[in-house]
Symmetry: C2
Subunit: 338 residues, 2 copies
Amino acid sequence: MGVTIKDVAEAAGVSISTVSKVLNGHYSISEKTAEHVRQIMHDMNYYPSANAQNFASGANHTVVLLADMSEKVAFRNPHMFEIVAGLEEALGKRGYRLILQGTDETSACGLAEEIISRRSADAIAIHVGVMSHPLSAVLTKLGFPHIVLGMPNFDSQVCWIDNNNIYSGTVAAAYLMSLGYRRIAFIGGKYYDLGSAHRLQGVKQGLSNAGFQLDDQYIWLGDSTRADGFQMTAKLLDQKPLPDAIICANNYIALGCVDALHKKGIKIPEDIGVMAFDDYPFSQIIEPQLTVVDINVRDMGAQAAKFLVDMIRHPNMQIQTYITTSNIIPRDSTKTRK
Amino acid sequence: MGVTIKDVAEAAGVSISTVSKVLNGHYSISEKTAEHVRQIMHDMNYYPSANAQNFASGANHTVVLLADMSEKVAFRNPHMFEIVAGLEEALGKRGYRLILQGTDETSACGLAEEIISRRSADAIAIHVGVMSHPLSAVLTKLGFPHIVLGMPNFDSQVCWIDNNNIYSGTVAAAYLMSLGYRRIAFIGGKYYDLGSAHRLQGVKQGLSNAGFQLDDQYIWLGDSTRADGFQMTAKLLDQKPLPDAIICANNYIALGCVDALHKKGIKIPEDIGVMAFDDYPFSQIIEPQLTVVDINVRDMGAQAAKFLVDMIRHPNMQIQTYITTSNIIPRDSTKTRK
DNA sequence: CTGAAAGCGCTAACAT
DNA sequence: ATGTTAGCGCTTTCAG
């Protein structure tokens, strides 16, 4: 091995427990000896063994993230990695490290059980995509620090954190109203797509806040695909009067929406304004560039980190929370109406 | 704590070293006792303490990845996470876990030093984006298992792995030739953009393999932006005869290229074929969908994992290698010429 | 404010 | 084939 605590103690003429205490900033050590020992550590190029510290302290300052990382996830779901980045960063600031562990819904449960039993991490983060009922049971039964990134689609006692999509919907509606749009339409995913449903709910809320309402003829639901976005927009264009703005529940739908409008020769934003949620890699590539409600998912990761560390210290804490740091990115698909 | 090796030993009526040996599959244990002990472990719901195992064995079956994970990296660089996913997966299969650690070029060196000194990982992977001369010195001096993901832009003794962009260029050229294209053009990044330069070199190679050559009037270099892609394409359209196919060094340039062709009313692929490298999230969103040379970056991560594990076992091994698993994804921007 | 000493739970060399 | 035993390098009471 390299230099150990014993070597440092000898060189400094103190006991190893004194060295340990300066390592951990124990209050009982006089500044004089502390400084002296630190100097020796530096001179000897001493670094405490991570393995020994972990073993002796019974912790390892590590949290593992269980998530689906199969082929091209980063492409389909860049947001996940933005959350990961936020999580890692905030964890790092608190002295914790992030272990990535790819898995699927089936295996996640066993992995979690093993991690907890072997204490190979001090806490677990779970991307909602691999969440399941049995996993939820394991987590709550064992009372292990954990957080689910995204709200599970079933009731349980697990801790989770998610964006407030209702709020984002309200923000979108309010923004369009503020520009002067009045006949606002919404196209989104089917009822079981909670994110979309919440955004729809929020849009309704936003309109009613301003004394307006979302007409049924202006609401269409389908799959979250470009094709369905196209179809739903076509339906909207059959209505009269035509809507003057369309809110798309997500970027894929927005893609189809823009296609449909182009095809009919309808000008964006002159004739109809278009808005979507989430700033996606291609939000700026479509013509015209899309105005979006951007959700700061990195921040969500950071919040999760904070909760996790709190839970490591207070294992019987429970959290189920919506957080949102969303803001409008105005681009070319909307404009002020006279 | 929970159940320990001692408890299992007592319950099974054997010594702890026997238990340890069945845990590690030591050859000297009879199948009979092994099975018996395993049964007891299962009954008692025993899991060995990760911290204790690490401490006693002097390893921790962990590799950390140093990479830039600042705001919106996943958007700008989805490939990095695909590599990460491949790395994690292949590492996991070999019993290793991946720790993510965000950093920048300046801090990376100190982090690496600490990781190595504290042995808080058995190996280090470094994304080339945070690579630096001092880091390279640390790595080679300390002789620690490591691999750089991407070729460093300076000579050194560090181990690295990268895609063979020259080969990809050759593949692209060969494909276009096979479709019947003959007047092939290339637009890409400036000379210091190694990836682009290599692709260009490969394209030249591919053409000369077939007895053709890349005309100077058909080569334009600029920044890797949509705007420059547009400009360079405009230049190409000033040449005569016009090229019948354009190879774009990357997707951003391809975006501008397509814009320019559209603007001039040139039909893709009827008048001019377009091809790019890397299957990006928006490769399928542009009109027409882009034919690309897809580089299997996930596989690169997997290869890196393999090398890393090899190096943990054979610390004085050195590797500097290009690997490539690339394949053509034919889409709508190219077609067979008669 | 400092030191002595008892572990933490496992691995592995050595003995049987 | 199995058991004995000496660590691994640190943390953490508990005395002084």
